[in-house]
Symmetry: C2
Subunit: 384 residues, 2 copies
DNA sequence: CCGGATAACTCAAGAAGGTTGTGTGTTCAA
DNA sequence: TTGAACACACAACCTTCTTGAGTTATCCGG
């Protein structure tokens, strides 16, 4: 919903929910664990964990995988997430298209689809939903009855703000209503935030829980994740980094004008290249196009400045770059970005690189939309 | 501790803790409420709230204050926090001094003290603690046995980072050990974060729960509060805004060089004024000193840029300015700051001003240190 | 090869916390 | 005057977690 949650009172049922999420989250992050080990990590008794695991196993959300041999004592059965035990539907609304993806419990996409949208008005999108759900279940019948919820990614910002939205007429509240007919629990976020939670699924096994994410959509978005939870601000619109002024020889320019799909395309067009989509961009990069190399050299500086800004303001473990920018270009950008030493993130014993590559694909946000659901499933939050 | 908390499993006892904090938090924010009203807001049954309130009243943390007349039905006894029912000790370590304050449950300081420190080494600070506690209890004997904990504010950043600390040898972990002999639950944060939670106590009745705080210490610090909780980053060092480069006619300069105590003092010294402390600054401001007005005019631009940056990156309800800068100067800065319209915080129906004045005092951080304890008391967090 | 230490798990009993249902008392409005 | 609305208390019940005793399986040293 992109709205900060209000803390709620704890009742026995909500306790169980919280503890279930905690157990699933530990398994997601660690891969395979025994009951006693989960209990230690969660701060619960082994008995409580045993009960929860029996319940989750009965629901098909996890299964045993071998025994922990090699240590003293009774060998503990190891539990892992059952990928086919639960599925998450991700939906992304863009000005020209409606995207959808179905993720299994491990976050792998088992199906995805893209439908052109003549109009992105809420009612026209709503009309597509029944067909979308039917197509997903037709392609992945094993998901029938096992949908954990739906996540929706929209380009921000939500509501009427000082920054124009790419998708007027939508905001977090209204969106939840549009998708209510799916009959699923709906979570709405902007595209950058969704993509960041997609990255979180992949990064959790490395112990990365607090990070930032620079997302290449039309412009450039920033998402902030602390402790596995999004930092979205008072109205869900945190992360508008695209308009931050960056000093250049021609005066300050918005970061988005220097580091984004629009920026690279404009630069290439001015040089007489055609690069209207990612494949064309990737091809130009593969052949070592000098105009593209020129753009990368120019964009690396602003990326370095943005990195310093994000590190000092937010102290993340790392910053993930993802979205609709070919991976090779992102790698070059990271390699060329001048990183300042004056940062609180430059600490001794740091294990994460300052910048790293995430999912470089047009699907980053729609897969992230599905990950919204998985993160809700894995992240205990006594607040809703 | 300035470390992100790890979610823990819920047990019955932790449930009660959480719900107690929730009840106290609602009373702190709303002033006076009946049991049924609290139950509705917290999502609990009236019976549960009744039990909790009976417990809290027995401990002296709240008391009744009149009846809610004028509505139908049985007049509900209204409950309010009992200011004298609990106290929080705040301690601030600075390079040259050790400050302490005792706050009552409503956040009002009932005592404060300042002791010069020849050395800010942990062991020398530790040696002062018994005397400090004794002095506090001597000045406020009603706090005996009613201390809820101790909060500690240190200048950041913690640990060895790319930015030098004003107080080498300290970090969040070590600090908790230094203060353990107090026999109180200790919470450690950097000075800006502490000051921000001090502001939160004052702002909660207005419904401000997500905001940012610019803190004038030696340099300039930023604290980020979302939903009543600090956003501290992966290692507790989020908010280093002082080194953000700001474009000026003489090239980019760190924000701290343009907007901070050091900056104004350097500017005034260059103009032949003496302004070594806050009183001198306030006096110059009162007499309309032109050199000071000149500095304010020059600092307002950077403040406006920082405001735009914070608003777009964090989408706060408001930004609070506080710390060691005379209130009149802060008011002038706010009035003169050029605010961009291009911000996600510029929304319809906005009730909070973009910038507002907080506690303009050298005591902002030490009082905030006490507020760390109060916020722990008022903010439910099933995580520790 | 055997016995003790170690560790994980299960079962049963108990404790803590919250909810629901019933009843009582007070106030406002028709 | 009467009924609806509302707050609260008491008691029974439910859910969840913890604790303690007992079982089983593995490792390791003699």
């Amino acid at each position: 919903m992109a709205q900060p949650p209000t803390p709620r009172g704890v009742t026995p049922a909500r306790s169980r929910d919280h503890n279930r999420q905690l157990v699933l989250g530990h398994l997601q992050a660690a891969g395979a664990l025994g009951r006693a080990e989960i209990a230690r990590r969660a701060g619960l008794s082994t008995q409580a964990v045993s009960n929860i695991i029996a319940e989750l196993e009965g629901e098909g959300l996890l299964r045993t995988q071998g025994l922990a041999r090699g240590r003293r004592g009774l060998p503990a059965p190891q539990y892992v997430l059952a990928a086919e035990g639960g599925f998450a539907l991700g939906i992304e609304v863009r000005p020209g298209a409606l995207l959808a993806a179905l993720l299994d419990l491990e976050g792998r996409p088992v199906w995805h689809d893209r439908r052109p949208l003549a109009s992105a008005a809420p009612e026209d999108v709503g009309a597509q939903l029944p067909g979308l759900l039917a197509a997903a279940l037709a392609a992945a019948p094993q998901a029938e009855g096992r949908l954990l919820g739906a996540g929706v990614a929209l380009p921000g910002p939500f509501g009427r703000t000082g920054i124009a939205s790419d998708l007027p007429g939508w905001d977090g509240i209204a969106a939840a209503e549009v998708f209510a007919p799916l009959g699923l629990t709906v979570t709405v976020e902007n595209d950058a935030n969704a993509a960041a939670l997609g990255a979180r699924i992949a990064l959790a096994p490395e112990g990365v829980t607090s990070f930032a994410c620079l997302y290449f959509g039309t412009g450039l978005g920033l998402a902030i994740v602390q402790d596995g939870r999004l930092v979205v601000g008072a109205h869900g619109n945190a992360g508008e980094i695209g308009h931050v002024p960056i000093p250049t020889p021609n005066g300050p320019q918005p970061l988005e004008a220097l580091l984004s799909r629009l920026s690279v395309e404009r630069h290439l067009r001015a040089a007489g290249r055609k690069a209207g989509d990612m494949d064309a961009l990737a091809a130009l990069h593969a052949e070592g196009d000098p105009a593209l190399a020129d753009w990368i050299a120019g964009a690396a500086g602003p990326l370095g400045l943005a990195t310093g800004l994000i590190e000092n303001l937010l102290d993340p473990q790392t910053i993930v770059l993802c979205g609709a920018m070919p991976e090779g270009i992102v790698r070059d950008l990271i390699a060329a970005a001048p990183l300042t030493e004056r940062s609180v993130a430059r600490r001794e014993g740091r294990t994460q690189p300052p910048l790293r590559v995430g999912r470089c694909s047009r699907l980053a946000a729609v897969i992230g939309a599905g990950a919204l659901v998985l993160n809700r499933t894995f992240t205990p939050a006594l607040a809703a």
